[in-house]
């Protein structure tokens, strides 16, 4: 710490304010990144508790703990909170911390707006969570909120849900504009786009996706609001509207949204695997092109979520072929990661364990995604637990594992202390076993015919549901260990070096550990071009 103060003594920089107002008023990208990450973790635990209510109810056939009305509220809120409250803010938090440090910028380009984008979120989620205590209960129509279940047949709290979604959308759009402006304007002199670390690249592309689709989400919830309160009939068949229109508009947002939750993960893993393989990332250029291709494809495949709504065969075939194409750039990425590991000199610290588990388990989710793209087979898979298994494989050991890998990888840079490696590995193995025991059997349950969003089920599904519930509790409770490890690391521990990991490359490893409150007030000299 003293070294840091000395370094910056002449710069007339001051440290953070004291007390609560530091966090309320902060415009510092590191503070805001920290706020986002803690907020996201709180939401992760909240959404996780809801998942455990679901799994506890499904532990055995029959209704033991909750009634179906509340069960539907749990599935809905779990999905909304995990997507909008846990995964997305975690990635924004990582972007806040890392993008300026990776491109040699002193801060985000729009610091005050950065503060607003964060502080909208606690209000949005307070509003969303408050619906649980309202008459008629919380939203109960699934996180995909298909009309007319979410309009004519919705509980009164749907209006609060709509405004909460509006707030989240505003926050996301402001956050992404900030990321785009920062990356395009504040790179250290001499850093070309194709010199940027992949995390920066994937976030740049993600930010464009967000700017493109969040207004579509805002549009669809506004149409709902009009239908509910102002007598329109966008989605009401009785009034001449079209319930399927809802699904088209929703998934035009929803499919890019899925990639919003995975592209930054690709960037994280592309940073971690080379470090611990002590070998350069294989195929940097093709990684960038593959990310861009996936982003482009994400706009033209939305109706593969709707194969059973009765589209004409030409539509079904088009969306099937377009969806299958996504396998190509995604495959390129997986092969590149494998090739990066190949002939490396690997060690398996916690971030590497999470990153490798990401590649393998995300690929399992990708392969089941390929199966789902085959329309005739999808008729049998659609809306069963096979789909639940698929998207949890890409989201939990996908997105969430990448976020945990990132936390372990950069924690020493953020706090100046090494985390406890033994505890970290314990956390990994508990999570790894828990996640697979939870979600792998769901493939079986789904193929055998259990639909999703069922509070109770026929007896032939009992065994695997029980296994899945046991796994969920293992996974859920092992996240408390993660909380403990992070707090322990913040409180103290072995001091981290500036470089932290002996194979790490990138500007963030050239600054002190912990990262000083202000970094790169003068742009860094880039090392000779190593990325190109």
């Amino acid at each position: 710490m003293s070294a840091v103060i000395e370094n910056h003594h002449d710069d007339h920089h001051h440290g953070p304010d004291k007390g609560l107002m530091r966090w309320v008023l902060t415009t510092n990208h590191k503070d805001i990144g920290t706020l986002y990450l803690w907020f996201s973790f709180a939401m992760f635990l909240t959404g996780g508790c809801m998942a455990l209510v679901i799994r506890a109810e499904l532990f055995q056939p029959g209704l033991q703990l909750v009634v179906p009305e509340f069960f539907n509220q749990m599935t809905t809120m779990h999905g909304l909170i995990m997507v909008f409250g846990a995964v997305m803010p975690a990635f924004v938090g990582l972007a806040n911390w890392l993008v300026p440090m990776m491109i040699g910028a002193p801060d985000m380009a729009l610091p005050r707006m950065n503060n607003y984008s964060f502080w909208i979120l606690p209000f949005a989620f307070s509003m969303l969570l408050s619906t649980l205590f309202m008459e008629g209960g919380a939203p109960n129509f699934g996180w995909t909120f298909y009309a007319p279940l979410s309009t004519e047949y919705a509980p009164p709290s749907v209006t609060f849900f709509i405004f909460a979604v509006h707030l989240m959308g505003i926050s996301s759009i402001m956050g992404s504009i900030n990321v785009v402006v920062t990356i395009l304007n504040l790179r250290a002199p001499g850093m070309r786009l194709m010199d940027m670390p992949l995390f920066v690249w994937t976030w740049l592309i993600t930010a464009y996706l967000l700017i493109a689709v969040m207004p579509v989400l805002a549009g669809v919830v506004t149409m709902m609001l009009m239908d509910i309160h102002f007598g329109t009939a966008f989605f009401s068949a009785g009034g001449g509207g079209d319930p399927v229109l809802f699904q088209h508009v929703f998934w035009f947002f929803g499919h890019p949204e899925v990639y919003i939750m995975i592209l930054p993960a690709f960037g994280i893993v592309s940073a971690i695997i080379p470090t611990f393989a002590r070998k350069k990332l294989f195929g940097y250029d093709s990684m960038v092109y593959a990310t861009a291709s996936i982003a482009f494809l994400s706009f033209i495949v939305w109706a593969h979520h709707m194969f059973t709504v009765g589209m004409p065969i030409a539509g079904e075939l088009y969306f099937m072929y377009a969806t299958m194409l996504i396998a190509v750039p995604t495959g390129v990425k997986v092969f590149n990661w494998a090739a990066t590991m190949w002939q490396g000199s690997m060690t398996f610290e916690t971030p590497m364990l999470f990153a490798v588990a990401f590649v393998i388990l995300f690929t399992i989710g990708g392969l089941s995604g390929l199966m789902l793209s085959i329309v005739p087979a999808d008729f049998q898979y659609h809306d069963t637990y096979f789909v639940v298994a698929h998207f949890h494989y890409v989201l939990v050991p996908g997105s969430i594992f990448s976020i945990m890998a990132a936390a372990y990888y950069w924690l020493p840079k953020w706090t100046g202390n090494m985390y406890d490696e033994t505890l970290g590995k314990t956390h990994f193995w508990l999570s790894f076993v828990g996640v697979n025991v939870t979600f792998f059997p769901q493939h079986f349950i789904g193929l055998a015919g259990m639909p999703r969003r069922y509070p109770d089920y026929a007896l032939q599904f009992a065994d695997w549901n029980m296994v899945s519930s046991v796994g969920a509790f293992i996974f859920g409770f092992s996240q408390l260990l993660f909380l403990f490890i992070v707090i322990k690391c913040i409180m103290g521990g072995k001091k981290a070096t500036d470089e932290v990991w002996d194979g790490a490359e990138g500007l963030e490893w050239t600054i002190a550990s912990p990262a000083p409150y202000h970094t790169f007030s003068t742009p860094p000299e880039l090392p000779e071009r190593s990325m190109a």
């Binding site: 279940l149 494998a338 002939q343 000199s345 005739p376 079986f444 007896l459």
Partner: protein, 392 residues
């Protein structure tokens, strides 16, 4: 020298891990023999289409497993061998144009290999031209209505099919019997080896009609009529589920299809048509209070109870209480009207489409006199019939 030693160590570790793998594989194969395959995989079904879909599923599944084994094999090999702890030195390559082209182009051919059979199966499924029997499938919160369409409206057969499992079973008060949550009061009956077309729609929210054995899953959407078809080859009872979230009892509206020989189907249909005629007679006669209350209780349990609850208390605010308040103790005409025509913008359905006038008269009478409401009045089926006819 040190390097050599570590290499030997590596080989031993490899051997040890291989032994582990073999042990795990042996365990899992013996365990698989015990496990029930139908609990793990898709059903093959009983139509030519469903078998085509099953084969397609197994083909793409096998391709995915092979890809997975290859990719994960390379990664696992690399993790076992290319370790710093074994003294492996990192290579310096970071791209290979040839390799990158290869793993972009080869997957495209694999995808084409999947797309060709998928396209042909889909074309077969979409060929719905001509049908021997047309059945309208209509989703309601939370039951199905089946109508056997006929050019002569008097020949039409129409009935509601809803869950048979009593609440006592799913609230764990009595043991769960066979076909728990999978049985209905009135199954759909179809003849084998006939092309049966299902015209699928909904009366309220979106449902989805899925019978895995036919590989038929189509969303039931208000304002749309979608078609699907099946030629069932074996007599039997085939069970399905609603697969689109449709509200609180989404998990409690199963589908049962009974496929029978043509002769049996015809006699069943004739019986149903006879039953429909009898309804006209029952509407004409004058019912006693006791008759109305007895029938009313049964109708209430089948049509009203899932929302308004067995004790009439409902689940406010979505499903209001009927006890001591509102229309149930108010003017009788308004009470009949809401049951007949439903209430727009709410979950209250227009039951004229589901219940016959006698059933409506009975259930209205029951609601007015059960749970201590004791209004004391009753309504005759012919009064309900007159109300419905005047609307038409």
């Amino acid at each position: 020298m040190a390097r050599k030693e570590s290499k030997v160590g590596g080989v031993q570790r490899l051997k040890a891990s291989l032994q582990w793998l073999i042990a795990v594989a042996a365990l899992s194969s013996s365990w698989q023999a015990l496990a029930d395959w139908s609990a793990l995989n898709m059903t093959r079904g009983v139509t030519a289409i469903s078998r085509e879909v099953y084969d397609l599923h197994m083909l793409i599944f096998t391709i995915c497993v092979v890809i997975g084994v290859l990719v994960f094999g390379v990664m696992i090999w690399s993790m076992l061998v290319h370790r710093k702890s074994l003294g492996h030195k990192p290579a310096t390559f970071s791209h290979s144009t040839k390799l990158e082209y290869a793993w972009t182009i080869i997957p495209i051919f694999i995808l084409i290999g999947m797309a060709v059979p998928a396209t042909s199966t889909l074309r077969d499924m979409y060929d719905a031209s001509g049908a021997d029997i047309d059945i309208e499938v209509r989703g309601y919160q939370w039951k199905w209505q089946y109508t056997y369409l006929s050019d002569d409206p008097n020949q039409e057969v129409k009935f509601i099919s809803s869950l048979l499992t009593p609440p006592d079973e799913y609230y764990n008060r009595t043991p769960k019997r066979e076909n728990y949550l999978s049985d209905v009061d009135n199954p759909l009956v179809i003849p084998i080896n006939k092309r049966v077309r299902f015209l699928i729609t909904s009366n309220d929210v979106i449902h989805s009609w899925w019978v895995p054995d036919f590989a038929v899953k189509k969303d039931a959407i208000p304002g749309f009529v979608h078609e699907a078809w099946a030629v069932v080859e074996e007599p039997g009872i085939y069970r399905g589920k609603c697969t689109e979230l449709c509200g609180k009892d989404h998990g409690f509206m199963p589908i049962v299809v009974k496929a029978v020989e043509q002769a049996e189907y015809e006699s069943w249909l004739a019986m149903k048509q006879q039953e429909a005629l009898q309804v006209y007679e029952t509407v004409g006669k004058t019912w006693t209070m006791a008759e109305l209350m007895e029938t009313g209780e049964q109708v209430y349990a089948q049509a009203c109870q899932s929302c308004h609850q067995a004790n009439g208390q409902g689940i406010p605010p979505a499903f209001p209480s009927l006890v001591g308040q509102g229309l149930a103790i108010g003017p009788i005409d308004a009470h009949i009207d809401i049951v007949v025509n439903g209430k727009a913008g709410s979950a209250m359905q227009a039951f004229a489409a589901q219940l016959n006038p006698a059933e409506i008269a009975a259930v209205v009478t029951y609601e007015r006199n059960a749970w201590g409401n004791n209004v004391g009045d009753l309504v005759q089926p012919r009064a309900v019939n007159a109300l419905i006819s005047s609307k038409e």
